[in-house]
């Protein structure tokens, strides 16, 4: 699967970008050459030799803050996505097959989560599990999971009653077989799109929760946090939001590309596509 993704140009680009992002997450905090928390004399300064990206409103070096914040940001977004996927996708597929009681329960649960005010839920979970980044990300993941649930369920429903699934059932296929052979490939594209979307939401939500004192505690740096701080001083440093935005965008875009590539090579269709017609963009 990985090799097949890498044979596509989109897969190569996505991998390259994500590799850089992963390297940032791994080594970023070590590369920060100045203390990301320590303010200097010049506040909101422009780029200079000492501060390649200038300083923020407290005089802290912006580049160091971005580098130092990459690990938390990336891990946070990854955790949000992972939680949302596990909590959303699996019940989404099973809701079609496990009978009406399970279906009803999961549907109502999804409705409840959608109706629940996000902040109230976040505060409640924080009160229950304690304040911390994993707890905050878990909360966000749960709140986003109805998206995955709905998307997966809709895609599964469309496949579940198709004649080719019935043909498999008439031959004695189990639910597991049907899901593996027929359903999975069809739900993957919509999940992939939702996944890229969620990764983006993850970055932004991390910073908005910081604003409430949940999850990442200021002055700890994150990409979203740097972006939020920059936005407050647009009149002084109008170009400043570009770099944190570019980092977030590149990550989300790479997730999107990767999602597309995975969809293209998934299933026999993808395999045949590659072997029969050479590599396709």
């Amino acid at each position: 699967m990985v090799l097949r993704v890498l044979r596509l140009p989109t897969g190569k680009i996505a991998f390259a970008i994500l590799l850089v992002i992963a390297a940032l997450a791994l080594f970023g905090p070590l590369l920060a050459f100045q203390d990301p928390l320590e303010g200097g004399a010049g506040i909101l300064a422009g780029p200079s030799g000492a501060h390649p990206l200038g300083t923020d409103y407290l005089g802290r070096d912006v580049l160091s803050r971005l580098l130092a914040g990459s690990r938390i940001s990336v891990l946070g977004a990854a955790q949000v996505t992972l939680v949302a996927m596990v909590v959303g996708v699996i019940p989404g597929i099973l809701s079609v097959y496990l009978g009406s009681v399970f279906e009803w329960l999961t549907l109502r649960l999804a409705d409840t989560l959608i109706a629940l005010p996000f902040l109230v839920f976040a505060v409640a979970v924080t009160a229950l599990l304690g304040n911390g980044i994993p707890q905050a990300m878990f909360t966000v993941g749960i709140m986003v999971s109805p998206l995955f649930y709905r998307v997966t369920r809709a895609a599964t429903l469309a496949v579940a009653r198709s004649p080719y699934v019935e043909a498999a059932i008439v031959s004695g296929a189990t639910i597991g077989w049907v899901v593996r052979k027929h359903v999975w490939v069809k739900v993957l594209p919509p999940i992939a799109v939702a996944l890229a979307h969620t990764a983006g939401v993850g970055f932004v939500v991390v910073s908005s929760l910081t604003f409430l004192g949940i999850g990442v505690q200021p002055p700890a740096p994150t990409w979203g946090g740097v972006l939020a701080a920059d936005l407050g001083y647009l009149s002084f440093r109008p170009w400043a939001p570009l770099l944190p935005t570019a980092l977030i965008m590149a990550t989300v875009w790479a997730c999107n590309l990767l999602a597309d590539a995975i969809r293209d090579v998934s299933g026999e269709g993808g395999k045949a596509l590659i072997t029969a017609k050479g590599v396709r963009a």
């Binding site: 198709s162 004649p163 080719y164 019935e166 043909a167 498999a168 059932i169 008439v170 031959s171 004695g172 296929a173 189990t174 077989w177 052979k181 027929h182 490939v185 069809k186 998934s266 299933g267 026999e268 269709g269 993808g270 395999k271 045949a272 072997t275 029969a276």
Partner: protein
């Protein structure tokens, strides 16, 4: 008997789709089931396959009473490969994301046969439905409707079933492909496979079937050898059916005769 259906009733909520249908198929026999849209033809096939539950009556397939089977027992029974089903719409009966090889071998793979063995069987079967082995690596979207339907028939045959249910197998095909698939069905019949051929078109059934059953509003109103049913139809609906197929008689029933038969049917419907 390969298939014996006794007093089968199927309800979808309030809708009474089948009201006491009885039918049997002997080994090597081809039975046609004719009926208009909504008469319960497909429901009959789906009940035999266990895709819809029977509310009353009995279905015995190859000596196994399938009426009371639970999910697990159904699965075990289906894996024996006694019955197979060919769907009406060849476009949707093959998974668009699976190669022809994967679709063809699926019934065998479900039974646990190795891919290599299943693939060699698939090659044989493609030959039998006069398709080349080069199709194995293609996707259904790259095949014509007629080719797809022949692949669907080949998939049903790969487990060597004793009974094949064909739900309008030629309705979605153009006339040349229709003739091809009908020829294929005749070969099948001659090879000793029992067929239950469901159609709304008396013409396509008449050439293949030994006996026909006429299904009208969930009831089998007439049953017998093809020749008898065509030459001496007793039920008004069958008369209408035979009369409206111009190829089966030198002259089609005229408009007045058809109208009176329709009127008769409507009054009967009101009574029942």
């Amino acid at each position: 008997m390969v298939l014996r259906v006794d007093g089968l009733e199927v309800r979808y909520g309030k809708l009474h789709a089948l009201r006491g249908a009885s039918l049997s198929v002997a080994p090597g026999e081809t039975v046609g089931v004719i009926g208009e849209t909504g008469s319960g033809k497909s429901t009959l096939a789906r009940a035999v396959l266990g895709l819809v539950p029977a509310s009353a009556g009995q279905i015995v397939v190859d000596g196994t009473d399938v009426t009371g089977l639970n999910t697990r027992q159904w699965r075990a029974f289906r894996r024996r490969g006694v019955v197979q089903y060919v769907f009406q719409d060849p476009l949707r009966s093959l998974d668009p994301d699976l190669t022809i090889a994967s679709s063809l071998t699926e019934p065998l793979r479900i039974q646990g046969v190795s891919f290599a063995e299943a693939a060699s069987r698939a090659r044989e079967l493609l030959k039998r439905v006069s398709l080349g082995p080069e199709l194995l690596d293609r996707l259904p979207g790259e095949l014509s409707g007629g080719q797809r339907q022949r692949v669907a028939v080949a998939r049903a045959l790969i487990v060597e079933p004793r009974l094949v249910l064909l739900d309008e197998p030629v309705s979605a095909l153009d006339s040349s492909n229709r003739v091809r698939v009908l020829e294929l069905l005749k070969q099948l019949r001659d090879a000793g496979t029992s067929l239950l051929f469901i159609s709304h078109d008396l013409g396509s059934v008449a050439g293949v079937a030994d006996r026909v059953a006429v299904l009208y509003r969930g009831e089998i109103v007439e049953q017998g050898p093809v020749r008898d049913v065509i030459s001496r139809p007793t039920h008004p609906y069958t008369k209408l059916l035979v009369g409206s197929a111009p190829t089966l008689r030198s002259a089609a029933a005229d408009r007045a005769a058809r109208a009176s038969l329709r009127a008769l049917l409507t009054s009967e419907g009101a009574v029942s």
